[in-house]
Subunit: 460 residues, 2 copies
Amino acid sequence: MAYFDAASAAPLHPIARQALLAALDEGWADPARLYREGRRARVLLDAAREAAAEAVGCRPDELAFTPSGTRAVHTGIAGALAGRRRVGRHLIVSAVEHSSVLHSAEAHEAAGGSVGRVAVDRSGAVDPSAYAGALREDTALACLQSANHEVGTEQPVAEVAEVCRAAGVPLLVDAAQSLGWGPVDGDWSLLTASAHKWGGPSGVGLLVVRKGVRFSAQGPVDERESGRAPGFENLPAIVAAAASLRAVRAEAAAEAARLRELTERIRARVPRLVPDVEVVGHPVRRLPGVVTFSCLYVDGEALLHELDREGFSVSSGSSCTSSTLTPSHVLRAMGVLSEGNVRVSLPMGAAEEDVERFLEVLPGVVAAVRDKLGAPAAAAAVAREEDVLVVDSLGKRCPIPVIELAKVIGDVPVGGLVRVLSDDEAARLDIPAWCEMRNQEYVGEEPADRGTAYVVRRVA
Amino acid sequence: MAYFDAASAAPLHPIARQALLAALDEGWADPARLYREGRRARVLLDAAREAAAEAVGCRPDELAFTPSGTRAVHTGIAGALAGRRRVGRHLIVSAVEHSSVLHSAEAHEAAGGSVGRVAVDRSGAVDPSAYAGALREDTALACLQSANHEVGTEQPVAEVAEVCRAAGVPLLVDAAQSLGWGPVDGDWSLLTASAHKWGGPSGVGLLVVRKGVRFSAQGPVDERESGRAPGFENLPAIVAAAASLRAVRAEAAAEAARLRELTERIRARVPRLVPDVEVVGHPVRRLPGVVTFSCLYVDGEALLHELDREGFSVSSGSSCTSSTLTPSHVLRAMGVLSEGNVRVSLPMGAAEEDVERFLEVLPGVVAAVRDKLGAPAAAAAVAREEDVLVVDSLGKRCPIPVIELAKVIGDVPVGGLVRVLSDDEAARLDIPAWCEMRNQEYVGEEPADRGTAYVVRRVA
């Protein structure tokens, strides 16, 4: 059994476990109290803050512990926007931020603010000049992740921070995916992170607000954590979070090199082992442990299920594996294939033999899922309207529309058109992505009586 | 060494520790994921929710886990107010709620809402008819604690819930201090609690919203915990919280009887052992483990310090032990003495011999602090203006003004007046309370050139 979903939650680091156990005995009292148990708790809290601040590269009094990375993002964005309310109510985010950032942006819009969303290239990276172009007179805050959680692409944070600094706009960096690997470069203003991503316990996030950054915490006041995280401190978990951050940093350089080599094997070998696969994310500027690929003609949920049966825990940005039935916003923003999507994110200490076994079983698993889907695809309702072949995939879910398209493309002459009728949201992303992969021309989409018609011209 | 501050934070229950350790191994993954580690986490989360709901007396789908009791209160009040925004923006709270409730009320006022504050009697209890009187056409929500955190007085929740129900207004009950002892009676609509008050770990609160109660969660959306608690679930701590709630409930009846007897000893014997003491809080309708008293002529901070040296950890609502330099809002609302205030809150399992030793050392500790304060009091600046004795206590902190008053009261004839000049906020509470205790007449306060003049007539 191999757990390959560290980007969701990393297993608890042994040091985190030890520190948590020790702090359960020493750190359960209220650190605001003056008696011995309270003073002991305060000493632990202060030491944890110092250790975490050192790892981040900030002053201890700039760092607050929050109940999660999501809460750190919500509080950080709301507080920074309120602190610069006089400047304006414009917020900039990238299109591939974590949902906590995008949901904060939506809440800001619902409250009357405006939001600029910076596009990414096909690798998932933003261009610093796009941030420069998005900045306005009334921009109160810009947000950018240090690295993407779904495809591992590292963002040019230092360059974007420079652009923002020049305009006098604070930059909030969501460092959830990268903080275990090292501090975030550049002259950022706010930073957020989440302990359970680096092997710390759940229940702990970090919110760093640099001195001099205007910040006005929202919601009811509370004295704890500089007024930035109301409620009794989750002290044993905070102690464990800080201890494990220090521990993973000590191993980070060697482990990053090792995991990078393992993910490079996956990047290089999956396209050779499995036909019709697109590896997504930046090939070089990427997190050490994350590799993501999409498999044509495969149902993501079935793929995850089969991999789970083979002992591999991975995640997927395919529409059919999410509760919303829309493909991951990250894959959409990148314009890459979302069907049969698999994210492998190796935890620190992942075993080489597990990666090798994954590469061994993957081709068979993908082939089995494709075989199973072959049957309904054979029943594709194909009609010829004048010079256009029409594939009726209405009511069929991803990846069936693409499978049916692939089956008929050979039936039209070069230069001929295929219209795929689909009411599955994923088709909007996956049909153009298929065209890109198979060197066919994606003509565009048209409204249809039901669903949408996606028009493809056979080129090759 | 004896820890007598369970009302702040109870030491971790052994069952909580065991459950936490087990859940660290089984429950670190994302319960929203479909692979085995995620499914295992989901099973633990569901079981914890069922156990907690059973203890509360609600349906599992009515209960969300939050990062703390404070967050549960903030979220609960904001969500309930927003859910009934159409009805109006009037909120009712008692004057002795926890700061998380009062700070929520202040935030509501700052955002344009209105707040009615229901007074309490000298025991700290509200009168249900006062809630009835406070209800308005536009009342969106009423809040009442199940029992007070500083003096242990139980509130008439069921009666207030009845009054609210009749008016169609939801009642939110802050059950932080009582949930370990038993479910909250009555037809309440929302309930909040905090695991570290019953021996669970820090980092877990409960928010219960009854089906049918209009609720609109505020802030950025998030899929977790029915949209009521954003961020990755603090699962191992949630498991430990639920397991320990079940465990303390199994012991609750026997332990309540035992602790009630121990606190009754303190209630009865402290006034006999220590002169000039007022025991506060309801003598009968009270939490089993909490007893609070105030000692005239004593500096609360010095008292806590001396008790800590003797091995007793207690807390205080005296002004000089808080960061704000104002006496506890609870003691103020009750109109009782705040100086030399001590709250003893026994944890489950508190040893009888520790309570006996506390009663042994307390008289000496109080006497020593009073002795130490005798010296500055001797330097009281006393002047006679016509028929009034004037005590200048300007610049002197609680309890000096009361000590100086007590020293001179014998120097005026029966019927004569003493004017105490003080700029310490605590005097406003403590001089009337002293008069009540010593059967002297408190005439009232008058503005003075500096500070305030408190006028006392010698009666006895």
